[in-house]
């Protein structure tokens, strides 16, 4: 017979064990694995081009899979980004999930064996034929988790790229023509500065600042340079001509007033809003802004690719991945297949997205057509150069904090490039 104290201790031990088991383990939240439920996670806003296309894809999936329930959970980008490894390691993993592409994200998960190898499905269902080479780069990862070769671990259904958004009304107001060359762009910016208008919308606390800088470097770069930097196919020297030009030009632009000295703490949203409010006549950023500008801009605006540069930032969009522990993988493949269908791809294109497998004649909206035409131009000249923060985990924060120093003039270009070199060398795989 147990004493009262022993009973307390025994109960405590049993309860603690139960509690720990519950907290650590097998809390299956309902996925049966019997082919009757598709558990889907993505983080696209419902009114975005992708959100609308994926909603339609879910409807299509339900129509073609009677009796199958779709359990959709809307997640935040940050939420999935920060917790994916832990979730995918548990029994709560979804069947199909949207995930960020790149070495430090999808590459890392594939290296750790958390994602399903989709190579066979990609070939059998023809996804490999639908995606161009530069878009396909982010789908494939080698055994070290480096993109560009190896097995398929994800499928992108859309693409993204950066461009110059410009306010035609403001250009007209100050008698400036649409710049066709880089010199014309800088001349236009000079004219704005003379009229006490800061020409470039910038955000030092988030990605726009580093994207200006990377674009400046890309204007002096080629595919081999990008492959060295992004795919480690050679040594990356941050004091080479391209990076040096980029850092010095960026610092110079701050001095000349093209970029506001007070933009070091502003966020991407602030930069987009300052363009939307007609304060900044030029904003260099990604196609993800396109739909919003169509909806909200109260002035005439246009876009052009960065002048005198063969390459610009961009890639295939985020990936559909199938976790290794997914219970209904066949359903997941079917869903991905639907998102690659002409019907969904055309819808994506007409809603302001950049589809990867659309029927060109089915895109009827003129702005969407221009957006897709620009993408095709880039794609044909192999001009997608990915993003500057991809090569090394945590490099995004390094780029943010170091570029802030360039904006506030608390670091010179040389020191800036030293800091990037240091962080890159520490984080990049050893060759």
């Amino acid at each position: 017979m147990l004493t009262a104290r022993r009973r307390v201790v025994a109960t405590a031990v049993l309860a603690a064990g139960a509690l720990l088991l519950t907290s650590c383990g097998d809390s299956d939240s309902g996925s049966s694995g019997d082919g009757k439920t598709l558990k889907l996670w993505h983080y696209e806003a419902p009114n975005s081009a992708m959100g609308q296309a994926w909603n339609e894809a879910v409807k299509e999936f339900k129509a073609t899979h009677p009796g199958v329930k779709v359990e959709f959970e809307e997640k935040g980008f940050e939420q999935i980004q920060k917790t994916a490894p832990m979730v995918l390691n548990s029994s709560d993993a979804p069947d199909v999930m949207e995930y960020n592409k790149g070495n430090a994200t999808a590459g890392l998960l594939s290296k750790q064996g958390l994602l399903t190898d989709l190579t066979q499905e990609a070939t059998a269902r023809g996804w490999d034929k639908k995606l161009s080479a530069s878009v396909r780069t982010t789908s494939m990862y080698d055994t070290n988790g480096v993109m560009g070769s190896g097995k398929w671990y994800g499928v992108p259904n859309y693409a993204e790229y950066t461009m110059v958004f410009y306010n035609k009304d403001l250009f007209k107001k100050y008698g400036i023509a649409e710049p066709k060359t880089f010199d014309e762009l800088t001349a236009a910016m000079d004219k704005f500065v003379q009229n006490k208008v800061t020409p470039l919308a910038n955000a030092g606390a988030e990605y726009p600042a580093q994207q200006y800088l990377y674009q400046l470097a890309l204007s002096k770069a080629d595919r081999a340079w990008v492959d060295s930097y992004e795919l480690y196919k050679g040594k990356t020297d941050f004091h080479d001509a391209a990076w040096t030009y980029a850092a010095e030009t960026y610092a110079d632009w701050v001095k000349k007033g093209y970029i506001s000295k007070t933009s070091s703490s502003t966020k991407a949203e602030d930069a987009g809003v300052s363009f939307l409010q007609g304060k900044a006549p030029v904003f260099f950023s990604g196609s993800w802004w396109y739909g919003r500008f169509v909806d909200e801009a109260k002035f005439d605006w246009g876009t052009f690719l960065w002048p005198d540069s063969n390459m610009t930032l961009g890639s295939g969009g985020n990936l559909w991945v199938v976790p290794k522990g997914a219970k209904n993988k066949e359903l997941a493949y079917d869903f991905i297949d639907i998102t690659m269908s002409k019907k969904i791809q055309n819808l994506l294109g007409n809603k302001g997205g950049v589809p990867v497998a659309a029927d060109a004649s089915a895109i009827t909206d003129p702005r969407s057509k221009a957006l897709i035409d620009n993408f095709n131009t880039l794609s044909q000249r192999d001009g997608l150069a990915f993003y500057p923060d991809w090569p090394v985990p945590g490099f995004y924060d390094v780029l943010v904090s170091q570029t802030q120093k360039l904006i506030t003039d608390s670091e010179k270009p040389d020191g800036y490039l030293d800091a990037l070199q240091d962080a890159y060398d520490k984080g990049a795989p050893k060759q």
Binding site: T3, L19, L108, A205, S263, S265, D397, I407
Partner: protein, 315 residues
Amino acid sequence: MTVTVEKRGVTGKAAQAGHPRRPRDSYALFLLPGVLAFLAVIIVPFLMNTYVGFTDWQGVGSPDWTGLANYRELMDDSEFWASFRHSLFMVVAMAAVPTAVGLVLAAALFDYVGKHFGSRVTAVLRACFYLPQVLPIAVAGIVWSWILAPDNGSLNALLKAVGLSSWQQDWLGDPDIALYSVMGVMVWVQLGFPLVVFMAGLQRVDPQLYEAAELDGAGWWRRFWHITLPQIRPEIYVVLTWCTIAALKVFGAVYVLTKGGPGGATDVPSYFSFTTFFEKTQVGYGAAISTVLTVIILALSLIGLRLQTREEDRS
């Protein structure tokens, strides 16, 4: 074992005789949920974190045991030490200044406003000072980032409106000013807590002490220095300890206001640990930073508690 045997005998006899069970055993059951929660939420994660701190791990797969390598790296990591220096600034902003200002304000509200304007006015003012404590830090941070925005922020607009354009600053974007701006926001956030605790403490001070001092001709400042301060010393220790701990682990305000920028000028250890853990996926190193931070906080808490106990013993 002897005790158990004796106890079993006593329990058996007591049960036979219809006596109630000894209360100590019954009370122990009530502690059980708390103990289990403490184990599951504090002790187990802490031990796991300590273990991970001795490994090289990216958060998935198998961690590699590296012994003290992370701690050696930490010693030479200038970013960590810079973040730790910023923490000391946060201690000033979240513990020293709010405690000092809170003391004066509490005494003024209790001793002056209460007497001349009544308890209702005092209560309203106290609530106003406490309001930032009730607001979620994310909300307060976003509002303050609007106020401190360089181009269209209300602080710069106000300065311009009153003819102080030369005082306008990029409050959160200038590396020389950003840390002080965050400190200012944290003083505003933190002030209400010491104020409320001190006002509660003042309730228990014998009013006759003040009356006697007043009769002797002591002014407000002398009464504050010689009566208020010594009488509420225990509350001061509690507040200082509590606020110092809060300052060392401050995260939300930095995350919302500056994300550690510009150029790392406002980075603090908890945010540094967070980015190392989740952004750089250096989970082992991030865990080592957290462990060091936990040890420092524990040590400071113990010192604070010890001082408090000694003070209580003395009084």
